[in-house]
């Protein structure tokens, strides 16, 4: 006998529940955590590389790096001064999910750290859908990608807590209209903390680093 069964269940519920468990675990250890997302080449790893030396003596940092394959990024984070660095190879997945982060957390003695930086897989669409349980999501945009990204990926820009605009040293050379970019961001996410900076020249990095320190000390 045909029958309609109402379900009304968020399809990502299972992941969301696990993300909450991750959050509880991170909070219990008193760690501030961020999930860094960006398209490939925007400068996630460079940002982490530039950030870690500036946090030396201020915050004890662990990093988790998600990649489809290779441990190149986690090697770079370790070289830049991360006190612990865990690599997750997603085996083909284009994003990290809460299960993967849970496995990585098990490898870390969280009590030893103040800040956990999770570097997601380079991808602007998928990581936005899968919560990990971190406190804040940071989107790294970069000037050469173009000023239309907030308009093309509204779901991604809407869901983030901080926005790093990397490679501002290239502004004189590319047709990137900061006004147009910022207007898109403002519609979608008026309260986002924005940090225009350059990982090459170091310009703007202090404000970003201070934001991390303030949040971690809270």
């Amino acid at each position: 006998m045909p029958q309609n069964i109402p379900v009304v269940e968020n399809i990502l519920n299972a992941n969301d529940r696990l993300a909450e468990e991750n959050r509880a675990r991170i909070e219990a250890a008193g760690v501030f955590s961020i999930n860094v997302i960006a398209s490939p080449g925007a400068g996630k790893t460079s940002l982490i590389e530039q950030t870690l030396p500036r946090l030396k003596g201020k915050l004890r940092v662990a990093t988790v790096d998600g990649d489809i394959a290779t441990s190149l990024d986690s090697d770079r984070a370790a070289a830049a001064g991360a006190e612990a660095s865990v690599q997750i190879n997603t085996g083909g997945d284009c994003h990290l999910d809460a299960v993967m982060l849970r496995g990585a957390l098990e490898q870390l003695d969280l009590d030893q750290f103040d800040l956990l930086i999770v570097e997601n897989v380079g991808n602007l669409v998928c990581p936005a859908n899968f919560k990990l349980g971190t406190h804040k999501t940071v989107l790294v945009a970069s000037v050469p990608e173009g000023d239309d990204k907030p308009y093309k990926y509204p779901g991604t820009y809407r869901g983030v807590d901080a926005l790093v605009i990397n490679k501002i040293d290239l502004l004189p050379y590319v047709p990137f209209k900061m006004d147009y970019f910022q207007r898109g961001v403002q519609v979608l996410n008026p309260n986002v903390a924005a940090f225009p900076l350059s990982c090459t020249t170091g310009e703007g990095l202090d404000a970003w680093v201070n934001w991390l320190i303030e949040n971690a000390k809270r």
């Binding site: 069964i5 399809i11 190879n89 997945d93 008026p190």
Partner: protein, 165 residues
């Protein structure tokens, strides 16, 4: 369904081998490779070293939810799934359909038809309260040009109901 079986099935689908070719890196130093492949909550073991899209994980989640509800109702088979998909949810229904045909075929939902109800994005201006659908390349309010808006629809992504027999 094991990984080998899955890859065999996948190869039957035109274009799949092309889609996955060239992405598998042999020279890797995986520290946690196993956890992402085996420790999945979504219940299916079709993870492989294929380059995949997020729709695979999502399709597994849809299947799991549907089967749970079908089982609760003692259903013999699932005939239809009604999925609500917001315009801003960045999901591709063709990809879900593609994965569905592979991962659901040995279950009681193997012949189910997937129905996707698209919900258009709807913004509400925080200044003049105008409700509008954003146009390409412009998100500001078309009435007053204000750049503050609440998103009131378009982010949904849920399994609304299933039809069973």
């Amino acid at each position: 369904m094991g990984v080998d079986n899955f890859m065999g099935l996948a190869a039957e689908v035109a274009g799949f081998s092309e889609f996955s070719a060239g992405f598998v890196t042999k020279d890797v130093k995986p520290i946690l490779l196993s956890l992402s492949i085996q420790d999945k909550t979504f219940g299916c073991d079709v993870y492989s070293e294929q380059q995949s899209m997020h729709e695979l994980a999502i399709t597994q989640s849809i299947l799991k939810i549907a089967l749970q509800h079908a089982e609760k109702a003692n259903a013999k088979r699932v005939t239809d799934l009604n999925i609500v998909m917001g315009e801003l949810s960045s999901m591709v229904d063709d990809s879900i359909q593609f994965y569905w045909e592979i991962i659901a075929r040995d279950t009681i939902a193997g012949n189910a038809v997937l129905h996707f109800r698209r919900v258009p994005a709807q913004f509400q201006c925080t200044s003049c309260s105008e409700r509008y659908h954003p146009i390409d390349g412009e998100l500001a309010c078309p009435r007053c040009s204000n750049v503050g808006a609440k998103i009131i629809a378009g982010e949904e992504f849920l399994l609304e109901s299933i039809d069973v027999e």
